[in-house]
Structures are given as structure tokens and as C-alpha cells.
Amino acid sequence: MTTTATPAIALRGVSKRYRFFALDDVSFRLEPGQILGFVGPNGAGKSTTIRILMGLVRPDAGDVEVLGCRMPEEQVRAKWDIGFVSEEMRLFPGSALGGHLAFVRSLFPGAWDDRYAARLLRRFHLHPEQRVRELSRGEQVKAALLLALARRPRLLLLDEPTAGLDPVARQEVIGELMEVLRDEDRSILLSSHNTLDVEQVCDQIVFIDRGRIVDSGDKEAFLERWRRLSLELPATIALPEVPGVVDVARSARTAVVTVNAFDEALPAAYQRVGAVVRDVQRMTLEEIFVATVMNRRKERGE
């Protein structure tokens, strides 16, 4: 990966304290041309982090840079090139979609792409004549995405972009997001708890739980590190200490070992003490996510 180009996002040691919640020392980067999946349970701090990236919230500590602009100080300059879609955004219920298009077009006269907008309307099965209050929830999400996409921002910040979409609409949206990435200067951060979507399209993964980053890295490395081993062994044998073991579920004669630092030599380590390795399974991103969160909470005694 190139690291010389200006990162789309660079967060360093970002903290923000609220009465019942705190973001604590959040750091991660997003390089141009990549999609970052920002994954966490409800209330983990995803939306707060995105609001900080948008310059809507000033952190108590840490550095925030978006497209080379310091946030929130240089947010006006940065926002020309950021497309932001969140669940909380509301379109004007009484206005037609076409009015929204004309409005955003007037705000971004140089950037707005009419042909792209027309294509997105077709792809998303939307019509300029439709009034917002006549649109279903899924159609409103697609309309908000269309308004963000059609001005071709260099960075898209999407808070739960596929939440509430049916499977067909979700594929349409994912398809359009991947089209954006044909251009290696454009980047997307998407927050989601749909790990299936994240596993499919994201290059970088950041896991957040209770205001803290609990793991991050490139997706392929992530999937490669984690395995679940099914062992059979006599009840008298203790399992050896092996680095990277996150969880052991042991009954008298079987054990299921979850590791986050798998390498090919690992099964042999168990065989040496007399265990039979029945299965070595890859894990889905969802399983990895749940194991990571549970493990971190256990480590902290939460």
C-alpha cells in the first residue's frame, strides 16, 4: 500500500468524554483508494467518530485530519470533498426528489455530475417527480446516497448505509460503492454492523467497542490470522500454552480453540502433546468480530 499520499483519514489519539460514554484514544488511517469498514456494536462510538470526522464534534484530545485538512478547524475546505450520509439525515418530506437534486447541484456547481445522477436514478429505481414522503425507507436511503455520490466527493462517510435495505437494494448500493473505487483517489468509510457486507467489500477493518478500538488491520490479514481448531484429547492432558489463543472451550475429551495468530505450525504443537486435530476452520468476519469483542471485554474484566 502507498503511504506517501495524503491519507483520506488520519485519527491520532482522539478522545471525547460525555457523561455516560467516552471515546478513548481512537487512532486509525484510511489510505486513498480503499474502503474501510468501521464495525462495532450499537453505542460503540461509530457515529460519534464519524461526527468528529465531519467536524461536527470537537474532540477533547487528539489530532483529526481528513483529506489533509485539520478538523474541525478546516472543515469548510474539507467538506467540499466529503459526501456524508447517515440514518439521521432527513430529506424534506414535502419536496420532490428532483428539487433535492437541483438544490445540491446548486451548492456544488463544479462537482455535480448530471449523467452520473441520471444513471444513479435509473440504478436505484428512483424518479425526480417522487415526493420524499412517498418514498419507502429504503428508497430514502438510496436517495440520500445518490445526492452524496453524484457530486463525486473524494471521501464518502457512510453511517450504516445498508441498514434497512432489502437484499436487492443492498446489492444495488454495494455495486455503486464498488464503482466509486474504480478511481484510486477516492475512498469510503462505512460504519456497519452488517459484517457480511464489510467482509465482501472492505479493504481495511476497524473494530470498535465501548469507545475503544479493539483491533484493526487489512481484511485479508485479518481473515488469515484467525482459525478455530477442534481437538480431541484424553481428559488427563492439559493443553500447551500457545501464543494467540483467544478462547478455549474444553469438555472432558474435546476442546475448541480459537486463535488470532494462526500459523501452519500450530496444529503440530497440539499433536505433540497427544491431541488429535479434527478440524481447522476459517472464521467469518462476524465470528472474528464477536470473538474479539468478547475477549477484550473479558481482559478488562467488564
Binding site: G33, Q34, I35, Q171, I174, G175, M178, E179, L181, R182, E184, L196, E199, Q200, V201, C202, D203, Q204, D218, K219, E220, L223, P267, Q271, V276, V277, R278, D279, V280, R282
Partner: protein, 129 residues
Amino acid sequence: MHAELTISQADPRPMYQQIVDQVCRRIAVGDWEPGQEIPSIRALAASTRVSVITVKRAYLELEHQGVLTTRQGRGTFVSENVRLQQDLREQELDGHLARAVDVGRELGLGTRELEQRLRKVIRQREEDR
């Protein structure tokens, strides 16, 4: 040339491996010919709807195997001297056997036991017919 591959999340193989296998199959059946330019990493990622990093990993693996050649600034091509159809099928077979051996080793099976297993499977398949 339709570019997209089909990636299944129900497939036990990792996504990059599915891409490697499907590209090999396209070449093996002659869909993609030696010397032919194939979609760039980003183009294939977009049409297949799978992350750039996953396609990149698959292409690296294929370059490593000598199946693809990347010419800086010009694109990605099927290697001129790519081993042809029969070869690729054989390579696919070797891949399956290698994976079977890996699983056998993980299960603690020795060479003799692996051979016995293979013979047993061959017998079963013949009886099935």
C-alpha cells in the same frame, strides 16, 4: 468480455482463492487466452463487488504461479507461456491433493494412512458408478 466473477459467501474457500480458481478456469477453458489483457484489479473488484485488496491478493498469487503478468503502467495479461488447458486442470488437481494432504497432516495422518484413504475413496467412486 464480461468481467465479473461469482463470489459466494457460502463457499468454504476464502474469497481470494475463489478468484484464483475462477481465473484459472477461464484460462483453462480458453475464455481468456495467453497474452490477452484481463481486467485491472480495480475493474475486476468493481464488477465482482469484492474488495480491491482481495482481488490484489488473488492477482499476486496468480503472478507468483506464472499465470498472470503485470506490465507496469500497461495492465495485467495472461502469461504468454501459461501452461495450457490440460496443464491447468492438472494443476487444479494437484491443488486439491495438496489441500487433502494438509488436512490429513492436521488430523495427524501419516503417509501410509493417507494413501489408504485415497485408495478407499477411489474404490468407493468406482462402486458408485
